[in-house]
Symmetry: none
Subunit: 225 residues, 4 copies
DNA sequence: TATGAATGAGTCTTCATTCAT
DNA sequence: CATGAATGAAGACTCATTCAT
């Protein structure tokens, strides 16, 4: 394999390669460092060290510590978005049922958070972000809610009438709970498989629940003995 | 000299009083400051200022900045626990239905987070806590899950067979989502009232959902057209 | 002597003393350091070292390096102004002649610059000052020019008709040349005494020179052989 | 390859040419950058950028940032010297009077400083120069003073008996004041034309002033009323 | 010779913590 | 016990200079 590769690139690796690779190394290092120490205690020197470059090099690629966090967050938003759309495409193509769809969604989001469970929260909650980025995060979530709502419309067993609100609650629930499980999995209480199933069940039950129109009426006759 | 002083301020409160009050002032100030600036940027000097004491006095009562955060977190755990037990007691006494119970629970937790929505997250996620405290937080949550499970056992419409797991999921869901709503309420999409209802609905549907025993079978016949 | 002092201040030195003294020490150190290294290379750590305080203490009294430079410059402006007014008062009171007045003025300014000849220039030219301060410097010079002009009006031998312009030129000339002599005195060529005399002479000649009204006419008949 | 290239650019300048041109470009860029940002903030990268060469190339021609400043200063010294000699030659040839000569001198020096008024001061005052260069600057001034003294000797109306000292004062005065006016011209107070005339007048008055031999005697009878 | 990515010492500044009064 | 001036380690960031290509 190496031989073949060398025949294709006979003399030296493409000139511009280092730059891209360095950016990636720095971001990977930053992800580790922020994950481990949090934003404030994740120093640029530590990031540079872990990336195996000097502090000067780090600042040749990013103008500030904040810029690193923003780059990381933008990557995360794009990844999440891509994943969501892949999921929707898949679901529409395969014509799985609601239950399978939710199971898939939960599984995907749990996978996403399994790598660096704390990173996303650190970036969103702990980092002083420019307003622009803050908006982007909120918009990404709203878009996700709408996308999910659009998909839900295709399933006849979804009884919920306010699909946008339901989509939002679904997205937030999945987001929060998969994040929590990824960060502190209590495998003694619940295996990963089980967790996914329970969550999918909760969502399915919620979405297919046929509700009375005015709520807060105590469902009659159901009292503890 | 001491004698003279006592004659001028005769009703001077008992020895331990001042200390207790000062501790409270410091913690109240710390809560404000951490909420506003985050843990790292919440400086001890700012806390002392806001508490109306000198930095020296602050260090007379707390050995370090971390100790303040730990004390705050311990208070929070105790408060939450107390609130939970009040709720359980109330539910058992009043014999409301499951729906009302969940509604009450969600309302209570949302209230708890409404005061300083970010504080809890800051303390748990942003603060480098000693392992001991971290464990205490997790244990508190498990205890809460068990308590909730115990209550759920009293409602016949709860079909779920693994009550401890269900309790855990309920606690985590309520915790996560009320926190999110308190921190970033999107009142345009969903009013507070509506949010509480939706969440209670989701939990009610989940708990009263009668499930097949092996999951991940696509629920038959429910495909998008 | 010590004994007497102790009887007068029996227990401890006045509480607030340290602060004022520390500010002075820092400014004195800063003056030395800027004089020696220039503004950019005059580091705050060096200033703190020379002042015998820690860098933290320095920043307790001054919010930034710039603030130190500004404080130094403000002192200089005030000193110069005071000196100028003392001189004017003295001249009016003593009724010395123009020559003596100029001699006194030059002597005073030379003394002012003898301590730290480069400092003033460093502060004015080398330091990125806030606009406000820059204006203050220019205004101080204009005020000085007007004050000098006012004094010159009292001397009948002053033939110059545009006293404000003359005052400005006098101030600038004295300022520049005393600064230069203080910074690089070439005592071989000209003693300090001699320098003062020459400069006073030049100014006296200028002020009492009776001029034709349109200038740039080659004064007729005076060519090199 | 080289051959082909030469055919396309046949008149390619002789070997040393590029190097010379590059040096000039770098120095021109450095002059701009230092003038704009000062010495400390005038970074070598900015200089290279503005010169249109890489930072590596810059260091091929100059061993250090300081070397660039020194080269610039040496050029300035040579320019000034050349200008002075042109002026002297002109004055001797044209046989203008003293007044015209001084007017020409002042005009020439003001022109010299008008292009980059701050540069010279930056180089002399703000740059940590090797002692050798500092001496060169002082010597250049002394030489100028002697040259001026030599010229003054030709004018019979010059009464001053210590021509070398007078020359030195003239040179310093012109140098300082033209620099000041070029850097901060207060055209409201005095037009450029007027400034030149006033300064020439001051020098003429000084040089043609017939003085008593012992100074500091209050010129008799001239007191403010 | 030209290039420009990489280097790392050095800068300003902050803030948890101590200790003399 | 209360105070708050003093401390100094540590962090974000800059820039003169080097060296592999």
């Amino acid at each position: 394999m190496t031989a073949r590769k060398q025949r294709l690139e006979p003399i030296k690796p493409p000139v511009q390669r280092r730059s891209k690779a360095t950016v990636d190394e720095i971001l990977a290092a930053a992800a580790q460092v922020f994950e481990t120490h949090g934003y404030a205690a994740g120093t640029t020197n530590r990031i540079a060290d872990r990336a195996g470059v000097s502090i000067g090099t780090l600042y040749q690629y990013f103008p500030s510590k904040e810029a690193i966090a923003v780059a990381l967050l933008e990557r995360h938003i794009i990844d999440t978005d891509r994943r969501l759309h892949e999921w929707v495409g898949h679901m529409v193509a395969e014509r799985h049922g609601l239950r399978a769809a939710l199971h898939d969604y939960v599984t995907g989001m749990l996978e996403m958070h399994s790598g660096r469970p704390r990173l996303q929260h650190i970036l969103i909650e702990e980092t002083p972000l420019p307003e622009r980025v803050h908006k982007a995060v909120l918009e990404a979530e709203q878009t996700a809610a709408k996308t999910v709502a659009g998909l839900l419309r295709l399933y006849p067993e979804v009884r919920h009438t306010q699909l946008e609100q339901a989509g939002s609650l679904v997205v937030q629930t999945v987001e929060s709970l998969t994040h929590r499980f990824a960060a502190h999995p209590d495998e003694q209480l619940m295996s990963r498989e089980r967790f996914i199933n329970e969550l999918a069940t909760m969502l399915e039950a919620y979405l297919s629940y046929s509700r009375p129109h005015k709520s807060r009426q105590p469902s009659p006759g159901s009292c503890p003995p």
